[in-house]
């Protein structure tokens, strides 16, 4: 299934609903599960579309506005489509001190994108992130859920797949 198709799914899956209800079950009210619910759905869909947002808000018995206010507050909730893998590049001080900028420039060259953008094949979205807690192995970044560290501008590009055709 490609992104476009993914976006079309409006209602939540049974699995998503079950997981959300599970979170709610140990909270004093449904609205308190807002962030968990957003993360659950994003876990399956990569991002939170308007349709997902509306569906989640319904489950939590809150307004879309209230939920969107929460969703847009947090860095790791994506309200725009992102690539298959989100690349979180640490731009905080320890990594910067270790030439993180140069490493990042190399990544941007390789992926032909800037921060906030997604590669044309839909594989990667590059975002800056605050310190990943790996400062003794700076510079560091995450590709998807995988942490990479001791990065080097010369060979960081190898960590990424070659840009391919736009998945169909």
């Amino acid at each position: 299934m490609n992104l476009a198709e993914e976006n079309m799914i409006s209602a939540l899956s049974e699995q998503e609903i079950t997981e959300i209800e599970e979170e709610i079950s140990h909270l004093p009210n449904r609205q308190s599960a807002a962030i968990d619910a957003l993360k659950i759905v994003q876990g399956y869909r990569g991002w939170i579309s308007d349709e997902s947002l509306i569906a989640i808000a319904k489950i939590l018995q809150m307004s879309t506005e209230e939920l969107d206010g929460i969703a847009t507050f947090y860095n790791l909730i994506f309200r725009y489509p992102v690539g298959e893998k989100v690349v979180l590049f640490c731009d905080s001080v320890s990594c910067w001190l270790m030439d993180g900028d140069k490493v990042c420039a190399a990544i941007k060259r390789k992926l032909k994108i800037d921060y906030g953008e997604t590669t044309s094949d839909g594989k990667y979205t590059l975002l800056p992130v605050t310190c990943l807690g790996d400062c003794d192995h700076a510079p560091a970044m995450m590709i998807g859920e995988e942490l990479h560290h001791d990065l080097d501008a010369a060979n960081v590009a190898q960590l990424f797949d070659e840009p391919g055709e736009k998945a169909s």
């Binding site: 009210n29 809150m62 307004s63 879309t64 506005e65 209230e66 969107d68 206010g69 847009t72 507050f73």
Partner: protein, 907 residues
């Protein structure tokens, strides 16, 4: 009282307030943004900073936010010191970094709290040279404009909208310097009190679109203190004009009535004053049945002749006309020939209300409502019928939260902390109504048909009287009588709310019984009865009869500001009109009745006329016009007075003050009305009170295209106000204050300077006067129904009010009309089955040409009820007493309209 030191002055102050509130109360000029007297403190903007010293030896002190600082014995503060004032200058400097500096094109300019505070905090030279953050604006509906770039992120809007008004479609989005206040997507703001955002926002993010459409700066407006005619609560408004047109309605603070807030019907519903439907001239129907415009003089001669020749003259009063006009009409036709013009139920409920006001049962003001800690609503849809009351009730349920905060020693002004502590702990509010209520989210709702609501009320009263819940009544699974009884009897201040929105006097009687039962044990019991219109109580005080009996003939019938077709079934009206030879209508807008008249006299609206209104708590309030009406248009009481003079009546009465004195003399019950506002002789330092600010500009130029000679300003002989900027224009008494302004305070927040304490009463007393006091016991009523109509498939049409659409006059305002619902019939699946209809069908009336009602089915509608909106087009359905409804077989749903949407604000 607690002693504190401020800039070396020793002060004795109240320790229940925060420091900011205390200092503002003392008249100090201390800038602030996020704090609002009704919203409490959160400490977001950091603008109200002062310096606090630990003790006398502490010379450095530390910056604290005065709004977040409690008053403690011996505390030492500096407001003026350099450290404090530098900090405040920096706050405003930083707030202005991203501000667009678009004051010249901003609607808020000239009455902008941000402008005021910028000057006050002393920031002038701008050093920021970088890019500004910019935002996209949203469409928020026909009332409110959105200009996010002006936002200073004080959070007042969302705190007001969500926490105070209970709305959930306005939020804060994103974070850091990209915080955005708006909706998820373009759309109408759904809350009925959204309009207050215009005044709550300290800058020009939320603006009044009605004003924007024909924009005028505050200093160029000519304004008057008026009373809203949108419902029976009598909120105080400022009505403003320029070039002979109404420009806007703003809140006018009244510490007892509306405080800082209005509903959207009141704020945006007065555009009808500028309507094309206004009756501009006198008209007389000629022998060919055609209206002819005529001069006032000729028309009065013509009417005078009719009156002299007539054997029977009757007068029909109006619940929306002034007390004065109703009184003069009654004088003209004689007490016996005067009718209130109210519908049957409305007249009966009005009389019940009058009897309560004269009894020992207390009717609280809107401000007092907020103190009640257990509430029972019987059959009254407050949000749609008496809107501002719903906002007060929403605050009242917070008493439980306040109690918890007191126990935890959290000051009540620490708004976020109190809300956090209390979570959703609320004082009980039982809502017994026939359809969904906007207060359901903070109450305990039950949906019953009007008869059952009345029955429940009677049972509750009985249970309270007999100290035990009646088991028989309790078998109704939809409500728990025992828990209601328990909550009400355990409350320290129980409140019963009822009214005419269900059109059921029976419900009101039940409510009176409940209040009566509670009042025997608890002096703090309150009862509120809402009526349909602004002056129901005035007309009820003048006459008990509603309309002449069917078949009673009249040579001349004078109808005052009353479209009787709105209140009575068409057939009854036709029958009545048959027996009227000459129909004289005095009104401001064309309507079904005026088009049938023989003579029409053009009446001034509230915006152009002075008059007295008596709200549902018996408070008489004087409303003043902002401008002289055009041409021959005149206040109704003035027309009627001229007719009286022609009949040698009320000859001594020339001005309104004499009229008021006459009323007081003839009707001792209403004697206090003369005190509702100072009379025309009132002077402040020898001056009358100006309707314009003293910055009024361009008056000499306004009519320069017509003549370079500036015309003389009109005189106002009937009040202490002038149509001019000449006169006293700052410290007028509240009931005469045309606008609020104080040096350095150009926005409405200048009201701080005129209150005895912040959020308290106005210094010279809140406008208006309670007319009725009494100690007599109110009658005890017995239910006239036998029991819930189970098994009875009788169909009953239940009216449902809509804040936008149900009120005759505001509905003539384009913006309001655009939000009015289209007709519908709401019923439950069972009733639908009985009526043989389903979603997609429509119901019709057997007779008449009323439009069919598309059917909408919802589970929680009480059985046997067809809920029908109160609209001009649905009146025929609402005048039915029994079901003669049937499926409309010829009906097809209009294209694109699959389902009927019954909610209030999503058209």
């Amino acid at each position: 009282m607690t002693n504190i030191t401020v800039d070396g002055r020793l002060l004795e102050v109240d320790d229940s307030d925060n420091l900011l509130q205390v200092l503002l109360g003392l008249g100090e000029d201390l800038p602030y943004f996020c704090w609002h007297p009704e919203l409490g403190s959160v400490g977001a903007c950091r603008q109200c900073a002062v310096v606090q010293y630990m003790n006398e030896d502490d010379k450095r002190g530390r910056v604290v936010m005065s709004c977040m600082t409690a008053i403690t014995e011996g505390a030492i503060f500096s407001v003026q010191g350099e450290k404090a004032s530098n900090f405040r200058t920096s706050v405003i400097e930083n707030l202005m970094l991203n501000h667009p500096h678009d004051c010249p094109v901003c609607e808020e300019g000239g009455e902008c709290h941000l402008q005021d505070m910028t000057i006050m905090a002393g920031h002038r030279d701008r050093q920021y040279r970088h890019l500004k953050t910019t935002f996209r604006n949203q469409y928020l509906g026909p009332f409110i404009g959105h200009e996010m770039n002006r936002c200073i992120t004080c959070y007042r809007c969302v705190r007001y909208y969500q926490d105070y008004a209970g709305g959930d479609d306005l939020s804060a989005f994103a974070s850091r310097d990209r915080i955005y206040f708006g909706r998820s997507a373009d759309g109408v703001l759904e809350n009925e009190f959204a309009g207050n955002l215009v005044e709550v926002c300290p800058t020009g993010v939320f603006t009044d679109k009605i004003l924007s459409a024909h924009y005028t700066r505050k200093w160029d407006l000519q304004s008057a203190p008026a009373v809203c005619t949108g419902c029976s609560l009598g909120c105080n408004i400022t009505v403003s004009e320029r070039y002979g047109q109404l420009r806007r309605i703003h809140n006018r603070y009244n510490g007892e009535v509306n405080g800082y807030f209005l509903c959207d019907r009141g704020r945006f519903g007065a555009e009808y004053v500028n309507s094309d439907d206004r009756i501009p001239y006198c008209g007389i129907r000629n022998t060919d049945g055609i209206y002819e415009a005529n001069s006032a003089k000729n028309t009065l001669v013509h009417v005078g002749a009719l009156l002299r020749d007539a054997k029977t003259i009757i007068g029909i009063g109006s619940p929306r006309a002034s007390l004065e006009a109703n009184f003069v009409l009654r004088t003209l036709v004689g007490e016996d020939n005067f009718y209130s013009g109210l519908s049957g139920p409305e007249a009966e409920i009005g009389s019940l209300l009058l009897s309560v006001l004269k009894s020992n049962i207390k009717t609280p003001s809107l401000a007092q409502v907020e103190d009640f800690d257990a509430i029972l609503i019987l059959g009254e849809d407050t949000t749609n019928h008496a809107p501002r009351l719903a906002l007060s009730l929403r605050q009242a349920v917070r008493n439980e939260a306040k109690n918890l905060a007191r126990d935890a020693r959290i000051p009540l002004w620490a708004d976020a902390a109190v809300r956090k502590l209390a979570q959703d702990a609320r004082s009980p509010m039982f809502i017994l109504t026939s359809s969904d209520d906007r207060l359901d989210d903070v109450g305990i709702p039950s949906r019953l048909n009007p008869d059952d609501i009345a029955l429940a009320g009677f049972s509750i009263a009985e249970a309270i009287n007999s100290h035990a819940a009646n088991d028989d009544a309790d078998n109704d699974s939809r409500i728990n009588i025992a828990s209601i009884v328990e909550a009400l009897t355990n409350a320290s201040k129980p409140l019963i709310v009822t009214g005419s929105s269900s059109s059921s006097p029976e419900i009101v009687k039940a409510a009176i019984n409940v209040a009566n039962a509670l009042a025997k044990h608890n002096d703090n019991t309150g009862l509120i009865i809402c009526t349909d219109e602004a002056n129901t109580l005035a007309v009820v005080s003048l006459g008990e009869k509603s309309l002449p009996e069917a078949g009673a003939a009249a040579d001349v019938a004078i109808v005052l500001e009353n479209d009787l077709f709105q209140r009575f079934a068409d057939a009854a009206m036709e029958d009545w009109l048959e027996h009227v030879t000459n129909l004289i209508v005095i009104d401001s807008l064309d309507n079904s009745l005026s088009s049938r008249s023989d003579v029409v006299l053009p009446a001034a609206t509230f915006a152009e006329a002075q008059g007295t209104y008596i709200n549902n708590e018996g408070r008489a309030q004087r409303s003043f016009g902002a401008f002289k009406p055009k041409g021959d248009i005149a206040p109704s009481w003035d027309w009627l007075l001229r007719l009286c003079h022609g009949q040698d009546l009320l000859q001594d009465v020339q001005h309104i003050d004499e009229l008021l004195r006459t009323i007081a003399e003839i009707l001792p019950e209403l004697a206090l009305i003369v005190n509702a506002a100072p009379d025309a002789g009132f002077r402040d330092h020898g001056q009358k009170i100006a309707r314009m600010t003293h910055r009024q500009s361009g008056r000499t130029a306004m009519l320069a295209d017509v003549s370079v000679h500036e015309p003389k300003q009109p005189e106002d002989d009937n009040s202490a106000l002038t149509y001019s900027m000449e006169g006293a224009n700052q410290a007028a008494p509240g009931s005469l204050r045309a606008f609020t302004w104080s040096p350095g305070w150009n926005s409405n927040q200048s009201i701080n300077k005129f209150q005895d304490e912040i959020s308290g009463h106005l210094q010279d007393g809140d406008p208006g006067i309670k007319l009725f006091t009494g100690s007599s016991a109110v009658a005890h009523f017995v239910s006239d129904k036998s029991g819930p109509g189970s098994g009875n498939i009788r169909i009953r049409v239940v009216p449902r009010w809509h804040i936008f659409g149900s009120d005759e006059l505001s509905n003539k305002s384009q913006a309001i009309r655009s939000l009015a619902p289209s007709p519908y019939a709401l019923l439950n699946p069972n009733t639908a089955e009985n009526l043989n209809v389903q979603t997609g069908d429509a119901l019709k009336l057997d007779s008449g040409d009323a439009p069919s009602l598309p059917v909408s089915i919802e589970d929680n509608v009480p059985d046997g009820c067809v809920i029908c909106p109160v609209l001009e087009t649905t009146r025929a359905y609402l005048h039915l007493s029994d079901g003669v409804l049937s499926k409309d077989d010829d009906w097809t749903a209009p294209d694109g309209q699959e389902d009927v949407i019954v909610s209030d604000r999503r058209p």
